[in-house]
Amino acid sequence: MTQHNALAGPAIQARPRTLSGRIVKAINKTPIHIALAIIGLIWLAPTIGLLVTSFRPRSDIQSTGWWDVLSTLRFTADNYSAVLGAQGMFQAFINNLIISIPSTLLPLTIASMAAYAFSWVKFPFRDSLFLIVVALLMVPAQVAFIPVLGLLKPLGWTQGYLAIWFVHTAFALPFGIFLLRNFFITLPRDLIEAARIDGSTDIGIFRTIVVPLSVPAIAAYGIFQFLWVWNDLLMALVFVQKGENFPMTRAIQNLLSQYATEWHLLAAGAFLLMVVPLLVFFSLQRYFVQGLLAGSVK
């Protein structure tokens, strides 16, 4: 059940059978509905406030709060064209794609392969090596900054995207190997043995059996990793050193330091950063929630 709809499911309660029982129950529940309404409001208002603001003209933003929007009812897309054009947010959006796509596909491929080795290829010290991978999960990225920068900067990799691709890929591996190995190992052994007896090579088994049967786990990992990279600021601060390559997180951070109170620009910029994750959230909610829950060990 939780596997297929992590956000839904039946409520824990005994359903009363009589009409009077139901009425009593409904009255008893009023405080619950009120509490949930307040919770819903607290969790929606800040985001909706910024969304409304991103479509309000600058002069309105400076004179009235977004909650007064019903009394003005003036909307504009100018804020978006301003950040996309003059503030370079369009280029930053493209940079996000350039950074995120390889930084998702590379670890997806490499981690699946290693996970296959850890689950279905025999080699010495396999389980000990796997525990080392689990231990590497906890290594904070900060530990790598000084030596890795010392390694990649002389190569000129921080002037392009190579450094950020490699760093994101490497740091995604422990979690990816861990997650996928744990999934691969649950695949039916007989299936893999049978293929082996039929003369399939490991490459063949990996490509035609393991990967196709593991699409849910691979998808959850892929979505988690994509959003992780998409939303990352810290790695980009260190490993993307040329302004024209900056992703949106850095562009917004620059906006904030230049125009701390120009909310028409900041709101529109923040929403451009949010739009892709929100689309993923609403379209792939199941994989998204699973990926994030599994990713909690990261």
């Binding site: 999960l137 950063l273 949010m274």
Partner: protein, 326 residues
């Protein structure tokens, strides 16, 4: 049992290291298949060694060196650590009461962020389980998990704006003639304001995990308790709370790791300020040490982070191993 109370992603780890998975399929190939083992693991092994194992060893060594330009220039023993803990008020200052500095702020984060996320997560999960629009409430509360910390920072800077015509919070307080308060500009409010934003961003995560745990509680137990005349309060404290204590402790560990790695939110919302009031350890590493070229001390801060995370690492590995035995 733990399999039934934990959501899918976490449950897979239990399935993983079971004896069946760990041992049985070894029988299949008696001899090492070297070409396959190398082909499949070499790319990961190379990347892990170059980008994680080697840097970790390098950084640990650098923590005991002056580390000018990130190179080994002069060995200084424990000096970097001594300086950090005794002579760097931005890192930890025990001379005032309450203490200040990044370490102390991290302690505040661990206590209040973890506490409120767990408490509110359990509250929302419990309340939501009693209504039909449960999925909607959980989706609303979970939504911030999709949003970049940088965007969260903009959202909350906006809520906290000292201008009552802009900031929602000061507008609401203005109705009852309080403020406006400069939430992020006042040393006495800044940490509470940041922690509140962090809690808001993470409650959905706890809600989803605890909600799955609540659903793992057998209905018969709850119904039996109700039939025997237990009050809702008794049911909550005597049945529900003990039965979700394991997922709660796993969650608490995860949240503490979040705190140790916390950076983006602070960097974008306050840049550690006002003054140094809202610094945390990962911020100190980046801003005070790394960005200003104090690599020896930076390495020492990174080692402190690593040392704090090692117990978590052991906790996790033991958890996986225990799952293998059960």
């Amino acid at each position: 049992m733990s399999q039934s109370v934990e959501p899918a992603g976490i449950a897979t780890e239990q399935a993983a290291l079971t004896k069946r998975g760990g041992k049985r399929h070894n029988v299949s190939a008696e001899r090492t298949n070297w070409p396959a083992a190398l082909l499949f693991s070499a790319p990961a092994a190379v990347l892990l060694i170059v980008f994680l194992v080697y840097p970790t060893i390098y950084t640990i060594a650098l923590a005991f060196n002056r580390g000018r330009q990130g190179a080994f220039t002069e060995w200084v023993g424990l000096n970097n650590f001594v300086t950090l803990f005794t002579n760097d008020p931005n890192f930890i200052n025990l001379k005032t009461f309450p203490p200040t500095g990044a370490i102390w702020n991290n302690v505040l984060w661990i206590i209040f962020y973890t506490g409120f996320v767990l408490g509110l997560g359990l509250l929302v999960a419990t309340l939501a389980s009693r209504v039909r629009y449960e999925a909607v409430i959980k989706a609303i509360v979970f939504l911030p998990m999709a949003i970049a910390a940088t965007a969260l920072a903009v959202i909350w800077k906006f809520v906290y704006s000292p201008d009552a015509n802009t900031g929602l919070l000061n507008a609401i307080l203005g109705v009852v003639h309080i403020g406006p308060i400069s939430w992020l500009g006042d040393t006495s409010f800044v940490n509470a304001a940041l922690i509140a934003a962090g809690v808001w961003a993470s409650v959905g995560f706890a809600t989803v995990i605890l909600s799955a745990a609540l659903k793992g509680i057998p209905t018969e137990i709850l119904e039996a308790a109700r039939t025997d005349g237990a009050t809702e309060r008794q049911i909550f404290f005597r049945i529900i709370l003990p039965m979700v204590s394991l997922p709660m402790s796993v969650l608490a560990v995860t949240l503490i790791v979040n705190v140790i790695k916390l950076f983006d939110l602070i960097y974008v919302m306050t840049n550690g300020g006002p003054g140094s009031a809202s610094r945390v350890i990962a911020f100190t590493f980046y801003q005070d040490k790394f960005a200003s070229g104090q690599f020896g001390q930076g390495a020492a801060v990174a080692v402190v982070m690593l040392v704090v995370l090692i117990p978590v690492m052991i906790f996790n590995i033991r958890r996986f191993r225990q799952a293998a035995v059960v």
